[in-house]
Structures are given as structure tokens and as C-alpha cells.
Symmetry: C2
Subunit: 323 residues, 2 copies
């Protein structure tokens, strides 16, 4: 048996007879390499491993996404290789290459922090999508060949704003933390609603520093500057918790004087008293859909490059009851 | 070149000359398998991958642990293969075998849910520890050969209880969610403090159902049964959030009528108003220590099988100020 034959087996070539292939794998097995990743990888030309990239797996939203992704991948006999990139482009790019060098069968980029403002900063994602299937969870990169599954955050925030206004809110503001893909979509939903109600959304949207005490201070400063608000829509639940604490300290009644909404339907929205009205962006559905589509792609099936689904508004005690 | 030679290279045998080894790896490289995990794995006889098992990566405490573990492993050029087992023994065992079959270099079991009550239920951990280094984060399995890094939860709860009593609490209760290794240690700390103060800790400890509304109801029922408490020590922050909500609904002043403490120093303890006194069990320190010890073990160094460190008490608004 020549090394070329072994190489063909290693390559998963179909020019090798089944009996030869078996013989080569048998040697590996006798050498103590089975059942294990090497032999299986070699035999099937796949490691049955998917790389999951996220900015920060300890983020309460991303932690749930990773949980559901790992569970669904495992159900399909794929292992999950996790890599937390942080929020800076050079690291994102470096760790994506790292996962590719680990021969992952596909990449899942969890969270909308992976789409950069400048088109050329996304070039490495285009390159990656040529090598393996790339799935963007809550991000879209048109023409890249990457698959997108996104929650319609714009629509959800538009509808929450509409509802707040219908419930008597006259001066809503929008608090956001970053202009990620998802952050921008939420902002656009707020602005669309305000335009329809004869207000300027851009003027009433504020980039708020991270951290609960920082959010409290930020709202105190807005008040000190004479900017009145009787509704505060936050782009995530942690910002909404800060808004609740601001209201409690300022002696403003929730929801009579100030209505507040969060986003993500995380445990944080339930830890606050009163409990916070929020949007459930269905992280379980996001992940089961992503993995289901990924499995179809790996089987060579044609699936849509873009899938969008709607969020679910969860009404709680920080907004008024509909009449 | 015989297949036996290839097999020897695959095995990382030192009976193969460097030039032969190079030739075999070159073929693999030309076959398009480099730079990648196969070739590197084959050449070095390691996948440079560590398996991380945890019950639930979306748990707010475990999510932080996974974040720090992945970061530290990556710094040492190890990839992280994540597997969430849930809380049932058969799955824990199955998924541990799954990771072993993936040729991981070591296993890290995050969270104290992996130590079972019955000694024979831990047999699979003893077996695993014979194959690869096994690290238990917040668990101890004497004689198994597994390495343990644990926070001294017993001491932390003992000191918190002592402090609450020193601050005027006469009738403390302890709420816990499970009798995991860590759960038992916390309970023992509470009981030790109560014994020293002439009370019976077992009688004042309660297994509380999961969920914030369930905790509120549970405390309302205790009250209805005539069980008085002016201090509530909870084994995690989520339970403490439930205790805060119970007090707010019952019109009991925090901390004048009721002092409350949590555990973990998670974001949940900051989302509550008032913010919750808690113990910081230093998840970053836990993980950097674990990975540092693991690297030493992989280098063949001798490290202690058991490392214990103390938690840090974070005093906030749910407990009285020391005089």
C-alpha cells in the first residue's frame, strides 16, 4: 500500500476502494486512534465540529444563544468549538482564522457585532464564506454568501413605540448602547414610529454609556438639561433596569409618570421591581433555525440566504395597561 | 514507505526519523490538510483542545466561568470544545464520553453539579481522570486523581451569617436551591454559624423552588406558617432577588425589618432595588488558576490536587451598615 493511497484515504477521495479505505483506517484504529476525532475526521473528511464566534459569552443574551446552539449542534452530532472575540476587529478576524485552521465544518457568528461599518472591514467574512458555510445570527452581509437569520428588531421597536404612544406617552426617548447591525435596526424602528407621529426620532435618541449606575446618571443629566421624557425605550434590558432605578430615585411613578421598555426578555427584566416590559427576540427559535439551516447546507441543499422572524412583545408592569 | 511507518508517524512514535516524519507530513500538507487540526494533531499527537463540560452555559454564573476559561485556554493556544450536559447523570456521563472520543487533551467540569451523592455514580469521573487530566471547578472527588479548584463557600456563608447576626439579626433563615457540592458547603457554613449562636441551622434552612415568583410565594407561605425571619441568606443572587420582591410586596423594610444576602456577585444582584449584598466567588480567579494549573499538568509538572481560595463579601443596601 503506497503513501499515495493513504493520502487518498486521508483526502476522502472516492478513487479508493472501500476495502483499501477500511484497511488504512484499521491500521489507525490498531494504532490506538479510534474511536476518536483523528480517524473519524480522516475517514469522513470532516471533524463534525462547528466554530461558534461571539463577542462575549458571558453577556446574558449571548450566553443563551450559545446554550441553544451547542444543544442543537450536539443533537446533530456536531461538536461546538467556542471562541470569544471581544469587540475589536483585529481580534475578531484573528480568532475566525484560528477556528478555520481547526478545520471546522462551518462557522456561526453569534450576535450582530460582527458586521462592521466600513465594507472593506468585512472582507475577511466574505473570504471565510468561500471556505465554509458562515451563519450570521442577527446580522446581514449582502453578497457575501453568508447565511443570515435575523429577528425583525426594527419592527419590534416600531411597534413598541407605537404602543407606548397609544398608551398616552407624548415624549418618548430611545436609549441605545452601540450602533451594531441590530442597534441600528432598533433605532430605525424608533425613528419610523416617531416620524409617523410627527416627531423627530434622531433628536430623541441617545447613546448611553454602559453600566447601570452610568445609565441612572445619564438620565439625571438629560433631566437637568431640560429634556423631558415620559417614555423610555431601551435597546436592552440592562439599560431599562437603569431607567427603572433612575425613576425610583427621582420619585417618578412607573408607569404613570414614566413608561419603560427593555429588549431581549432576559432574566434582568424580571429582577427589576417593577418587572420590565420587553421584547422577546426568541433566542431558542433563532438557534434551532440556524442549526437546522446549517445541517441542510452541509447536506448540499439549497436554503434561503436570509431568514427573518418577528419578536414577541412581553407586556409587564413598566408600561400602562391597554384600555 | 510502509503503512507501518505512516502509522508510527500518526502515533507520534520516536522510532521514526525526523526526515521520514517530515515526508509523511509533507504528503498530508500537499493533500490540502495543512495548516489544520488533522496535521497538527497528527504531528504533535495532540489536538490542543480542552473539553469544557457544564450543566447549562446560559446560567449567569456558569456563563462567566465559560467566558474566562475560553479566554485563558486560547491565550495558551488551546481551543475550547463546549458541551452542556443538563443536570441528569446519564447525560453528564454520555457527553463526557463524547468529549473524550473527540481526543481532547483535558476536561474541565465547570460548576459543582458534577459530584453525585452516591460514590458509584462518580465512577465515570474516576475512569476519565485516568485518561486525561480532569479539573473540577468548585467540586472535590477525593482519590479520583481529578484536580479541584474550589471557592471556600462554607467559610463565606459562615462569615456572612456571623455578620448578619452581629448587625442585629435574631432569626436568620437560609434558602438554597440544590444540595450540589457547593450547595452543601454553603448550608454547612450557615449551620456552623447558627450552632455557635445557639440556634439550629437545619431547622432554619429551606429548599426553595426555582424561579423568582416561586421564591416570593415560598416566603409568603413560610410567613403564613408563622415562621419568623429577619434575615434571609440565599445560596444565589436569583433567590435573593425573590426575597427582595417578597419584602417589597409584604411592606417589610429592607434592611430595617429584613436583611437579605445573595451569592455569586452576578449582574442580578445589581438589577434589584435595593442592590443586594452578596459574596463574590471570583470566577475570573477560579478560571485563570484552573487553566494555569492545567498547563502545568500538561507540561508534566506536579501540582496540588486541591486548591481552595476565599470569597469576597460585597456589602450593599440589603444589609445594615456596621456601627
Amino acid at each position: 500500500m503506497s503513501i499515495a493511497t493513504v493520502s487518498r484515504v486521508l483526502n476522502g477521495s472516492d478513487k479508493v476502494s472501500e476495502s483499501t479505505r477500511k484497511k488504512v483506517l484499521d491500521v489507525m484504529e490498531r494504532s490506538g486512534y479510534t474511536p476518536n476525532a483523528f480517524a473519524r475526521g480522516l475517514g469522513l473528511n470532516t471533524m463534525r465540529t462547528v466554530g461558534i464566534l461571539c463577542a462575549d459569552s458571558s453577556d446574558i443574551y449571548l450566553a443563551r444563544v450559545i446554550y441553544w446552539l451547542e444543544r442543537e449542534l450536539r443533537k446533530n452530532s456536531y461538536a461546538s468549538m467556542l471562541c470569544c472575540t471581544g469587540y475589536h476587529l483585529p481580534e475578531k478576524e484573528k480568532y475566525l482564522q484560528l477556528l478555520l485552521s481547526r478545520s471546522v465544518d462551518a462557522l456561526i457568528l453569534a450576535g450582530s457585532q460582527f458586521i462592521e461599518e466600513n465594507a472593506q472591514d468585512n472582507a475577511y467574512l466574505y473570504e471565510a464564506a468561500k471556505k465554509v458555510p458562515v451563519f450570521l445570527l442577527n446580522g446581514v452581509l449582502p453578497g457575501s454568501g453568508a447565511y443570515s437569520i435575523v429577528c425583525d428588531d426594527a419592527l419590534a421597536v416600531k411597534e413598541m413605540t407605537d404602543e407606548l404612544i397609544a398608551l398616552g406617552c407624548r415624549s418618548p426617548i430611545f436609549l441605545y448602547r452601540s450602533l451594531s447591525y441590530s442597534g441600528k435596526r432598533k433605532l430605525s424602528g424608533f425613528c419610523r414610529s416617531l416620524t409617523e407621529h410627527g416627531m423627530n426620532g434622531q433628536e430623541r435618541s441617545f447613546l448611553c454609556p454602559a453600566g447601570i449606575p452610568e445609565t441612572v446618571r445619564f438620565l439625571q443629566e438629560l433631566e437637568a438639561q431640560g429634556i423631558f421624557f415620559d417614555g423610555c425605550l431601551a435597546s436592552d434590558d440592562e439599560l431599562a433596569v437603569g431607567a427603572v432605578k433612575y425613576a425610583l430615585e427621582a420619585g417618578r411613578q412607573i408607569p404613570a409618570d414614566l413608561q419603560i421598555t427593555g429588549y431581549n426578555n432576559s432574566l434582568l427584566s424580571l429582577c427589576s421591581t417593577p418587572e420590565i416590559t420587553t421584547a422577546d427576540n426568541r433566542s431558542e427559535f433563532l438557534c434551532t433555525t440556524a442549526v437546522s439551516l446549517l445541517m441542510q447546507v452541509l447536506e448540499g441543499k439549497d436554503v434561503p440566504e436570509r431568514t427573518m422572524y418577528s419578536a414577541n412583545l412581553i407586556r409587564r408592569a413598566t408600561t400602562r395597561s391597554p384600555k
